[in-house]
């Protein structure tokens, strides 16, 4: 017994020794780059550290340059943060990631700040893992404000109102956007959790312009005219609507967009707000009525190409393709956000091959307030180069390239409408900046369990015929977190 004790202690001493030796090893190894791994820690220290890798004595570098004055963006443009890297993440990949890189190229060239963006298809999982492990990127693009709000509540998001010039930010946005970026912080008081970087307008009806005009159809300006147009199309042997709601794990959001657009046209904005806040139940007459109006189109097999079977199994992007069929349009109208155009065939030209009109008012009393959604960026720290990027997002200028390439609408007031690459985007952009009444995408603003959960789920069940409307609405109400 005694021998073994001795053995164990010897063993543990040796083990400890080997650990220590190993710990020293990387520093001694010529291939190791301690400066490299240490860099992030160094940059998080006071603002004035310039290029920490350049010299081993940080004190010396601070003396070289007097502390710059002006906003973060001014200092960045003056080259103060040259050589730093800002990491970014978000759900967009592929073409959008390339457009983002293109639109930020100018900033990177002028400031010398590198923006390292990594998008991911499993955005929710990767961002939560990174957040909880304390390894989150500097700036994060949230496609829905709900997730940002939950991180803000945990105190993981920087309060931008303490960093940026709030007056300047407010001056450049419709107040509605500022309201939508205020979220409760850790102690419950609202913080400015993010910056609306680019947005989109919803409720636009796209149609194949050539055939639409050739058939003599006119853009409807009222709901009654829309119904007349639908019936005319049916009489002419065509199907009016192209609808598809499949979207992987997010299947069903197209249906929620429809209901929200109809809600805004059939009741007051106040009721809409109450509904989004959970005060007006789904089973209320207002919401039920909106769902019924939607169903009157969706569940009419003559109105929808392929009927409900096609609706549930067709991805929202693919659902637009029959409009561009080589043998003429199989269906004539698709209602969606302005981002849908990037799912059209690459050869289709705006204004020639397709046009768009705004979904007409249903009840003249309520008009047609615009439903909007967008990408809000939050920051996880207060590094000056990070704040410079966030401040840059508040200027429409940063989006210029993307606007030209199409697919992004600027919410910033300093956006020049001439920057848009297509007339349709220009109309949407103008409407968003100037519109009096904006309302945020209801499902995006509801708690995740409803807005990204039961609202989608129950609507798909209703559309697929598995449930009747009252049951579906009652189930959504039951799922609202108490």
């Amino acid at each position: 017994m005694k021998t073994s004790r001795v053995l164990w202690s010897v063993l543990s001493v040796l083990l400890l020794g080997s650990m220590l030796m190993a710990a020293c090893a990387p520093a001694a190894a010529p291939t190791a780059a301690p400066a490299d791994t240490a860099a992030p820690a160094a940059t998080s220290a006071p603002a004035a550290t310039v290029a920490p890798a350049a010299t081993t004595a940080p004190a010396a570098t601070t003396a070289a340059k007097p502390a710059a004055t002006g906003s973060f963006l001014d200092r960045a443009m003056a080259g103060e943060f040259k050589g730093t890297t800002v990491t970014a993440t978000g759900p967009f990949v592929d073409q959008d990631a390339q457009k983002f890189a293109a639109t930020m190229a100018d900033f990177q060239a002028k400031t010398g700040i590198t923006i390292q963006y990594q998008g991911s298809k499993e955005f929710e999982a990767s961002i939560k893992a990174a957040m909880d492990a304390g390894n989150a990127p500097d700036v994060i693009d949230f496609p829905q404000p709900g997730l940002l709000a939950s991180f803000a509540k945990q105190g993981k998001i920087t309060d931008l109102s303490k960093q940026l010039d709030v007056a300047a930010v407010k001056a450049n946005y419709n107040p509605y956007w500022i309201d939508q970026s205020m979220m409760p912080g850790k102690d419950g008081t609202p913080i400015m959790a993010g910056i609306w970087e680019r947005v989109n307008g919803k409720g636009f009806v796209y149609y194949p312009k050539k055939a639409f005009d050739a058939a003599g159809y006119k853009v409807p300006t009222t709901f009654a005219e829309l119904t007349t147009l639908e019936d005319q199309m049916v009489k002419d042997g065509s199907t009016p609507w192209c609808i598809g709601i499949e979207s992987g794990a997010a299947t069903g959001w197209v249906a929620t967009d429809w209901i929200e657009n109809i809600m805004l046209r059939t009741t007051t904005p106040e009721n809409y707000d109450a509904w989004v806040a959970g005060k007006l139940p789904f089973s209320s007459p207002e919401v039920t009525n909106a769902a019924k109006i939607m169903a009157s189109i969706w569940q009419n097999p003559k109105y929808v190409y392929g009927g409900t079977a096609t609706i549930v199994k067709t991805s929202f992007g693919d659902s637009t393709l029959p409009m561009f069929d080589a043998k003429g349009p199989k269906c004539f109208m698709n209602m969606n956000g302005n981002f849908i155009t990037s799912f059209f065939p690459a050869t289709a030209k705006a204004g020639v091959d397709y046009g768009a009109f705004y979904f007409p008012p249903i009840d003249p009393k309520y008009g047609s307030p615009m439903e909007v959604a967008g990408d809000i960026w939050g920051a996880t720290n207060t590094k000056p180069e990070v704040m410079a990027v966030m401040q840059y997002f508040t200027k429409a200028e940063h989006l210029k390239v993307w606007m030209q390439q199409g697919g992004a609408i600027a919410p910033q007031k300093d956006a020049d409408l001439s920057w848009y690459g297509s007339d349709i985007d220009r109309v949407v952009g103008g409407a968003i900046v100037n519109a009096g009444t904006l309302r945020f995408d209801g499902s995006d603003a509801m708690p995740g369990a409803v807005g990204a959960g039961t609202f989608w789920k129950e609507m798909t069940s209703f559309v697929s015929g598995a449930e009747d409307l009252p049951t579906a609405l009652k189930n959504i109400d039951a799922s609202w977190p108490k």
Partner: protein
Amino acid sequence: MKSKFAGSLLVNGMLAVICLLWTIPTFGLLVSSFRDRIDVNTSGWWTIFPHQDWVSVQEVTPDASVNRDVPMTFKADSGTSVTAPFEQLQIGVEKDGYRFQWIGNRRVGYLEIQKYTWTSNTNFTLENYKQVLSSGNYTAALKDGTTETALGDNMTHAFLNSVAVAVPATVIPIALAAFAAYGFAWMKFPGRKMLFALVVGLLVIPLQIALIPILKDYVALHVNGTFLAVWLAHTGFGLPLATYLMFNYISELPRDILEAAFVDGASHFTIFTQLIVPLSVPALASFAIFQFLWVWNDYLVALIFIGASPTNQLITQRLAEIVGSRGQDWHLLTAGAFITMILPLAVFFGLQRYFVRGMMAGSVKG
């Protein structure tokens, strides 16, 4: 003799039916990967085979002045003529072996005169593969302000990265698991039952719950973003199944050969390295394939532990970036899926020879 032949026919026949059923979906994918976007979305892949269908022989676009609300008359080049209202033409009117079919809208459509003949849809293209292999360029901004666009060879780079991740992430867990499996199967120690229950129980743990704690450790150790991080994670996630399957195999080995070895004075270590491991080659090879496939096709673990570093990205990450935001680009997905399949299939064929009978028959006898 006769019954043997019949038996072999029956065996091979059944096998052929099952194999056909299993292969048809993949074959459809292969065919689709060579078809262009429009074809993929508008006709079934099986239309590449000769089949009978109504094929357009003539198109007639009526003059704008023609009243389409009353019966219309159309005459084919062959002389056949048909008079029918729009509603009938839309369904199709058959006469003299021809079909008169109205295509599209009453006002902007046209009439197609069709004949029922043999046809096949053999419009193949390599465009999908070209696009997958060269598009989705990663544009990295350099510090001097210029941008650097890595072209198609980035895919090759990612391919090599995936190999660099998959090989150690396959070998390390198998080595650990083989030792542990032997320990559970043939050694006595306190807590043996409890620890084995633990291994079985851990099979059910979804790896998603482990991502955050592991990431925390990686951040502390500065290994996040390296292959090492992915190897260790895959080792941990693969170990329960590896240990369980290896245990199952090693414990089934005949007890008498081990007994004989102990009588000869061999230690556990000698028996393991010189007897058990050679005997377990089929099981080791089987599991190696599975683990390799899981690692190879994994996206989530790579995403979280490698993340943004463009130089260390794996092939699944690259593919996700190419087809990620537009899930309905089926024509690209088909090509992408096939590219990722090549190596796993090669590994399967490479290890195939370890599954043949007789590998162990001789040693068991000894």
